[in-house]
Symmetry: D2
Subunit: 284 residues, 4 copies
């Protein structure tokens, strides 16, 4: 069944829900999901609505224009429209660790995610066998801190040829350049192996061990130009004790990382994440 | 600021949100909160809406009548209307354990709950000092399994004299009779010291110890005629190990019980719980 | 580095720790891990000790005999001895769902588990591609409720040819017969998709949905003749809301199931689980 | 039943457990609890042992001398000895918020803690009624950032007159001076309302809100000269969403704070915390 999903934000005022739901109802759409939220400090209204297109009077390719003309310009709405019969296309970037990659490929292969994964990118050869196991093309660009200017344009070209909508950094150990970030705003999802904002940067498990914390965490966020400081999508923690070595933290952390990252990616695939300023609204 | 809260359920159909929000918007009400949910299996629409009465054109005492006349009868809605300037009145029933009682009285005394607690009822004298510390009348009815017919009518009279809206069983160790349950439908909140439906009935910590579970739980639910089987409001668990004795489970469980019960009571006070059949919808 | 691991239980009495640690220390072993626990109700002493064999004066193949002669018979000890240079051999049984299987194969392939997985057994063809991706032989026995007597002996023969030490039921949907359970006492690990003892038996997510619980769980346990009632190794829960359908519970539950099962299997591989009566001692 | 508790640390070497347990066993003590841990990086051995004094051959007042003479000097052990028939004496410092105070007083009054609480200190009058409810003397010193030199000596005198062993800062909003910290090394327990090391310093809930985290936390730690950087005893987190305002974080955080602080205090009372460098070993 094809449905349309509308994600919108605009300055809050009375009557917005009625206004938007009327648009659907009057045109024979059946709302199958609605979640809205008002940020009373920023005075912004946020909404996610999904409706059946079966009897909807407006043709899918015309909805954006109609909504823009009739509602968005009137209420200063920013909105995005998605259709569930068009699967988003996702690229995975990896380095050497396989746990997040396998977790995503297992979900993908089992048909749990409404997504296409046409390619995997890496700066190392290590995970080529993992990619081949699942029949996904694996492209190596031997990027280092010093040669990004050489390889990133090639990466970007590959992504564009493949119509990639969003990128998942699955423990990819290189910093993404500002050009790529600008090309995929709020469309690059990273997993950081700490409970941000604690332990920003390299070697967070070593830092957690040194500080003697009793919980370790993982954080999935959109990548912005500011390292490990983009809008947080999902976080979780697990308990550790004084008995856990740095290696134990790495082992326990892997399970956190893969689940937190996959949950964030799933929300993104379902168009349930709306980034606003440096935060996210997560619709149910 | 006085606001009105509407809790409603009705058979689902298109346009209900628009219909109800229009009622507020057209009459100059400002919706400050809306949460809705459709049970697609039962085909029931549920909604909680809160709006400011400041400029609302319909007088508070007339809202129920207008809503019934204009909307409820048309859409077969069941609804309840509350006003935040009228605090609900709550009775606490206790036996000998103090942890849940103190937790609630601390919140109440600190002004965290918009509720009145005019009285505490017990079947034992033990917690009179606790009640007196907080200046709340303490009534003892020495109820046992065998003399309920004698004392419950007196309890009921006391509750009615004090205009009690709902009852919290804070580790009260007597079974409530069907008459009292009928008098307070979905208005008697119990805390059961297990993760229901595991370990129904007496001595759940002993049963948990015997079974060798790795987590213990607590469950807050509305009391129905069916023991420990009413609609669940809130649950939580905590980790235990083989090292924990039954006494350790009791100690760890107390913190679970008091937090789970207080959270359930808070949701109830805020009119965020809607019981339907044997389940609850919990609005945010 | 080769180490020995001793798991023991015996009637408690003063001096047992000193007695056992002396055995290691006097013979130039270096204890690198010791965890002990006394069940004061059963009056049983439990211990797990790991020591380096580098300078140990007793040859590995003689340790069992010496320990039996010098200590075990004197103190009525039951014990098991393992060496870390001998990897246990594990069979995985699956039906149609892949999430637990992939989670284990990802860990295995990444070298995280000190185990051999020589074969996968199923009652369906569905997961053959998953097994083949990881190069593990996949054997189908079309077992149903009614033909167990025909196929189980063949399964047993296969397991014995492959020197299987323990079996993991990764959402395997057939009940294991008593003969197989007797052949692998406390060596068949199951994952049940509920927080046991709640929702024993078939369709626990449907039962959880019907009861309206606010948390769902997963339980990994050793299989005994009594269905879903064996010693629990690991459990965990995750929060759900009234908005979650049965399908949502299934989706959320999969992540619980795979993590809980893999953690239980990991503990078993590391010889950190000691089953006693119907419970487990889990050493750190 | 009077028992002795020994907390010790020393450079690790083979045979330490045997050595220490022999001391108890040879002298007719019955070990009722033993937990040990080796930090293989620092090469330090840590141990907590509790034994019955009933038939122990060495008089309680002589144990420290004997242990020092026979073992501690030989193995460079640092140790502390406690007797369960001598309750530690605890002072509570508060400012204006009551939730942690009530939580501790409820446990104390119910007899759950083996501790004496002879006094409460505050820089404000606000919580005098709370203290009086539980019959505990309440002393106000109107300390500010600028007049510490005047009032802290008076506080210190009061603490010494009352033989205070340790201090609990229950949302006390003044920074403790270095003199007081030196007088109570690893004996001042603070609760910080964030998941440290995230959000050190003032207004952590505002900072958490601004950052858009999906979990908030609380951390109980020993106070050192370095603000919010002392050894962590206990931490926990709870889930929040984009819908939670700063006020909601404060409300949800209160429950975390009180439970985390009370659990840390309980561990301290039971002599189960051993601070080493800037971390803690928490014995079960």
């Amino acid at each position: 069944m094809n449905t349309a999903i509308l994600l919108l934000s605009c300055p809050d005022k009375p009557g917005l829900i009625a206004e938007v739901t009327n648009f659907i109802t009057y045109n024979n759409g059946n709302i199958i999901y609605l979640d809205q939220y008002v940020d009373h400090i920023e005075k912004i209204f946020f909404m996610r609505m999904e409706w059946s297109l079966e009897k909807f009077l407006i043709a899918p390719e015309k909805i954006e224009e109609y909504f823009e003309t009739l509602y968005a310009q009137k209420h200063q709405m920013q909105f995005k429209l998605y259709f569930t019969d068009r699967k988003p296309r996702m690229a995975i970037f990896v380095s050497k660790m396989s746990h997040c990659l396998y977790d995503m490929l297992a979900r993908y292969t089992a048909g749990e995610w409404q997504v296409e994964i046409p390619l995997i990118v890496s700066n190392h050869e290590d995970l080529r066998p993992a990619a081949e196991r699942f029949g996904i093309p694996y492209h190596v660009f031997p990027i280092t801190k010093d040669n990004k200017a050489e390889f990133e344009p090639k990466e970007m070209a590959l992504l564009q040829e493949n119509n990639i909508d969003f990128i998942v950094l699955a423990r990819y150990m290189q910093i993404i350049s500002e050009d790529m970030i600008k090309a995929y705003p709020n469309n690059i999802i990273n997993i950081h192996h700490s409970f941000l904002p604690a332990f920003v940067g390299a070697k967070p498990y070593h830092a957690a061990y040194a500080r003697g914390v009793k919980l370790i965490g993982a954080t999935s966020h959109y990548v912005t130009a500011d390292l490990d400081a983009g809008p947080i999508i999902e976080q979780d923690v697990t308990r550790i004790t004084h008995k856990d070595t740095v290696d134990d933290l790495v082992t326990k952390g892997k399970d956190l990382e893969k689940i937190v990252l996959s949950h964030a990616v799933q929300k993104h695939i379902e168009h349930k994440v709306l980034a606003f300023k440096n935060k996210t609204i997560i619709f149910n």
